[in-house]
Symmetry: D2
Subunit: 448 residues, 4 copies
């Protein structure tokens, strides 16, 4: 027993030291990714960078269809855009051989790696997201990426939610674990998920079976805190269930002056649907949200409009709340189409259940990080985030469905600007702290 403890302490020290040594890698990788951001399902260069770095370290990348169930892919752009983005990735340094492997596997981005420990033990999986946002990065001089010259080179695209950091943490973590795999018990999977923004990518990964053998599922996200960080909080509750969807009504045009009765008015159908949907926003089980964020319809002032599309999202504090709201919204769309003799279509472009990690595990990880990671100034067991969603919940739900557990670690820094802002940035010392926090977490899963 004593020996085991000693061995464990030593193993931990080895890994933590490795993390310190690779702190520079974290920053370099993050800045490289920040400079070449790619939005959901177009993370071609990012995927190649990850795979290149980790295959060099001796790991084998699982790519494309091996980790993505095609039937469950949501919100992927059309071929034209994909082709364009692939070419850009090549122009920006993506390894052609690796990109070819991605293409041969169906062209789906994302990558996963397995590290086999030296002794029997549990299977633990980390999931990191990797996509950027359609945001134009600020040109303000006091924005660090401008000062340090790693501003986004891709117009209208920016890592404004920290996924460049998450990916960097994951890459360095995987390398450290691989290089010290003998010290581990069981197996560790490190999963790089595409298309987290808009909650498009997780379902397809989970449906590929990647989490079916996982005992403990861990995720990490950089969040702002009002107190001084870095800090760690286990997000035990509060990730909302959500569906990202669009509705389209197709009617019949007619001359608005001469024969209005011959038209089937798609804008009025949308108006009726939107009006009615607001009638379902009350739920005693928890908060619900509905937003029609954009609308577009019609062709000319004097023609009964024959088309109208709106983009919407529904959210719920519990999956059942969101499911009810979405179902009623869908019923409203269908019924409004009947009212105005329009055909209708609803496309689901993203989806996530509600959820969060286990309270007990979150508490243990927080305590371990506070003790083992010097950079972590304080920790809290639970953080309730209202109003945000993360399709990491699909991984959690799957792992729970076969008796596993999990936690979502919130790495807290006092960020200068909010998530999704054109001025989003974070203190890069969070990166190394993040790697170490993951290592600390492994002491609570039976891996270390």
């Amino acid at each position: 027993m004593k020996n085991t403890e000693k061995a464990e302490k030593k193993a931990l020290k080895v890994l933590m030291d490795a993390a310190d040594r690779l702190a520079g890698d974290c920053v370099r990788i993050r800045r490289d990714l920040h400079e070449y951001p790619e939005t959901g399902w177009t993370e071609f260069r990012t995927t190649c960078r990850i795979a290149g770095y980790l295959e060099t370290a001796g790991l084998k990348a699982a790519l494309g269809r091996d980790i993505i169930a095609e039937d469950h892919v949501m919100g992927r752009p059309g071929e034209e855009i994909l082709t364009e983005q692939r070419l850009r990735a090549l122009a920006q340094g993506a390894d052609p051989a690796l990109l070819r492997r991605v293409e041969e596997a169906g062209g789906y981005t994302g990558a996963a790696f397995e590290i086999e420990g030296g002794r029997p033990g549990p299977t633990v999986a980390f999931r990191f997201d990797m996509d950027a946002l359609p945001v134009e990065e600020t040109e303000d001089r006091d924005h660090v990426p401008n000062q340090m010259d790693f501003r986004s080179k891709n117009p209208g695209c920016m890592h404004a939610c920290g996924h460049d950091g998450h990916t960097a943490i994951g890459m360095v973590l995987a390398r450290i674990l691989q290089e010290n795999r003998k010290l581990l018990k069981g197996k560790v999977k490190v999963i790089f998920q595409p298309a987290e923004e808009g909650v498009k990518g997780a379902l397809a990964m989970v449906e590929s079976g990647i989490a079916d053998d996982v005992d403990v599922m861990l995720g990490m996200h950089i969040y702002p805190t009002e107190k001084e960080g870095p800090a760690l909080a286990g997000t035990q509750t509060g990730l909302l269930a959500t569906t990202k969807w669009s509705a389209t009504f197709t009617g019949k045009p007619a001359h608005a002056g001469g024969a209005p009765q011959e038209g089937h008015n798609a804008i009025l159908a949308a108006v009726a649907a939107i009006s009615a949907m607001n009638g379902f926003l009350q739920d005693g089980r928890g908060a619900s949200r509905l937003n029609v964020g954009t609308i577009s319809g019609g062709t000319a002032r004097n023609v009964i409009p024959a088309s109208c599309t709106f983009q919407a999202e529904t959210r719920g504090a519990e999956t059942a709340v969101e499911t009810r709201l979405f179902d009623r919204a869908k019923a409203c769309v269908r019924a409004a189409a009947e009212m105005y003799e329009c055909s209708w279509d609803m496309e689901i472009e993203g989806k996530s259940p509600a959820g969060g990690g286990e309270e007990e595990l979150a508490g243990k990880i927080a305590a371990a990080a506070e003790q083992m990671v010097p950079e972590i100034r304080w920790s809290q067991k639970v953080q309730v985030n209202t109003g945000t969603a993360d399709d990491f919940c699909f991984f959690l739900d799957r792992v729970r469905s076969h008796g596993g557990t999990g936690s979502y670690m919130a790495l807290l820094g006092n960020l200068p600007d909010g998530l999704h802002s054109s001025r989003y940035d974070f203190d890069e010392s969070l990166l190394s702290a993040g790697v170490k926090t993951c290592i600390a977490a492994l002491t609570q899963t039976g891996t270390l």
Copy 2:
């Protein structure tokens, strides 16, 4: 030819003289009916009065199921009200034997009479309506029925649309024709229709077959004119098609604070339906109208409302216009029920097609009346009335369907107050003028 003309002129004079002699009857009958007004389908005393007067004159009254197709009866009150009104009719002097005959024929009000002429000729039918309105008659002293002591004795009920006058004209006309039937060619039917208000009664009469052998269909209504009357106008166009209907939503109650998601909100369903229906009010083929006149729903402030009913009417300048509008309104009701998981019901309480008499016949009758009836100061061939409906159009449509023709005669007087007003009244000299106008009309149908 000369002889025929002479005979015709003589016959006309005989009938016109009879009308002059019976001018007092017109006034007496009208005042009696005015004093005991009865609303749609409860014209028990009125029916007995008509039958009594005309059977005394030797005619045979067709009653109840003989002239009413039960399946097409709309908007008839429930048994409780019918029983109450029957008892009131008896208390107010309805002949018990006649009332028994009405009851044996199903209890449907209305009556019809056939006068067989002395020579072959066309079948001409007159239709007169006989029901009163749910209006409380004014107590103003300058209101003639108050001065002359024939104010309504039935609280909340009044002949405020002149049907007492129409019925009086029809009764005296039928008596004159019967007493001089040898002078007529062909057959004349005089039909007293119940429940014209709310357009409830005509369809059931027409579906009984009563108009199936009619060649010329004539109706008459007292209307206001701005110029000095009495006058005659053929209403050639402008009677709107209409449906009188009610919609009911039935949902599910729930505590509005604790479990709103468990309720199925019937008021919101009604709101959605009403909002959407207004989207169908434009039609290049002619005017359309929709009114939700009353609404009632819910039980308590803190309970998700599980019921809501509204009463509505749709109208259209053409039958197709009204049909489309009604169909879309129905679709809106059905779809709104789907939106809010309510069941729904629509009841049709009245219905009439659009229409009006033949322009040519209207012109001929107007010319004849101007020449033959001294009381008629002027006439016009055509009058376009917007915004009103009359289920006389069912008779017209049926007669036209087998090649017949018809006209709707507007007897114009400068009425002191509008139709349906609590101060409605008309100059009683219109009554005799009305009888004579009907006689003049028969010179244009081949009967005289």
Copy 3:
């Protein structure tokens, strides 16, 4: 110190023994009140019963304007109903002399009593509510009030929310405290509030100044629990802010067929307002609720409706949430009236802020009750009730505004049927337990 403790223990025992002795009174009073229930602002007999019982015990009842600020009375019925209810109260045994005193004080129901302790100390107030609900009591034989013959004698009116029990507890508590006032420190107020249902009565009491000198404010309500009771929970959070209100639109009638453009449509104004209000149901600060519970409008199918009224309530987890929602709903009513050229009116018929007692005090009382009241099987510090409101929060807010504290005690029994049900009932052993719990609470306020 030791002596003080002993004295306190002895005093406590004296009061608890008195509660045991008066357990029968609790039941008798409760059954009497249950038999003669009175709704908000008509608790004439109830007020007289309370005043009679406690003046007999030597207390002096403060009545009417002394405890009710007339300007803040909400939702009181009209004079006709008040007169009718006063006469019924007399017929059902209300003391005429006491009722005269109520009338002389403005006719407002409710009563308050002050017990002066023998030594200096804090001012503690208890508030009990006393009104019944417009519910018809069940005729089921297994309903205890039917078996034991104390079913409501007032048709359509029933104590279906336990206020008969609350009042009985308050009466017996006040008597015991008065009879043992020497043992108390400071002052105890026992306040019987009218019209809690619909949150109509508390504001007027608070605005009379009755709570301005109170240091600790206590309230009590019988609630259901799923586990076996009796039990006690401090309701620390979860009482929703609410406003009960009605909106009326007044437009202009017009003939729907002939001149619809001349009408100002009050039903469409209501429809527009109701549709729009649902657009404000999302609030990141906490749950919000809006229900349009009833609607009524219009006079006839063929008349543009010139009037429409709906009854609504808004709720919010925080006062600010409810205030925003109510303000937006009001803006919607005003704007919808402008759309349809209607005048509008909004009447506030009830109002309460959000809130709940102090967590710390709730915990102490729960611990004391668990220890001192044998009937209390278990206790919990905090109970979160979603979806209900209680205008006790006005008392709490006032007491807090000058630095005081308070708690709302939930007396938990496993009730056979839910609040407001026609079968509502509770185990009468809760009554004596309630009295004792109040006494136990006084050990935590510095009174005992």
Copy 4:
């Protein structure tokens, strides 16, 4: 008398012969205009072509501010587009000197010419419109402009409503009148109006005073007929009043999940306004129309939308009907903005009163044309066109306001495809017939 008649007949013959001689000019001009179509307020080349042709014939073009009141210009594109179109006009052969004159007069397109007759007489004005539509001309080979090689050279722009023909008729007419001005009595104005599509241009012309001295106002439009043409109909009634307008709501963005209560939702404001506006579509005075033809709002699915714009038009059979509908729609926009705390803006982009020519004058012109113009196969006095508008009505209203009269001549041909179709075309023999019809009309105005 006899001599005068003879002289008049001779004069008529001279003009008709001239029309025959210039038939080729009609076609050449029309094809040139068809090849280089320009939309409203950008008719730079068209204006130069008109001015060049008629100044060569000895007339003096009034241009820009002389005929356009700047304050009443509606729906003119921004400077950028105007500049681009001017450059295109030059590239496509517009005379630089003439274009400079247009620019010096404010850059407004359109032109007017005055022909002084040889003897005293009335002032008669013709108005012709000259703008094209944003329609892409068909590439079908059987479309005559494709066969004859005068298809539109301006992408997305086409003369699809015959204004190229109208302008050609007006140019040849003005030349003939100028060359034979000695034969005329009084004065003839020939006015080429820009921006008739969207009813943008007439008000500014009329407000310049151009019609203030006109006794008889004439307009002409090529319309389809079902019978064989060419034919002439006086459009006596049926041009609808209309306003072309846009509404914009500006709210406040907020994160839809985290803080929806902080947003001011511009899409919901638009939805509320559109829903409510449909409540004003019924008018007993005549048909009304409202169409929201396009809508566009919001920026992202998860942001409360802070902007929404829709383009709409209102129409009415009478000006008062349209005015009421527009006023109520405006009230709905304003009130909906209040509901959702948005600011709002409404821009009027086009406007026309209702109207039509005088029935009597229309009849006389039709009769004259039938007699004097061999190409006119038949004529009818009156044509009721439902559902279309023409801002020619501004000219008519102004001329009537000082006691003048006017007529709108419908030149009927059996067009292969409807107005505004990408396959619109007409038989070019209509052009010469149109010139002659205008000459024939002058025999009814006292000019010839």
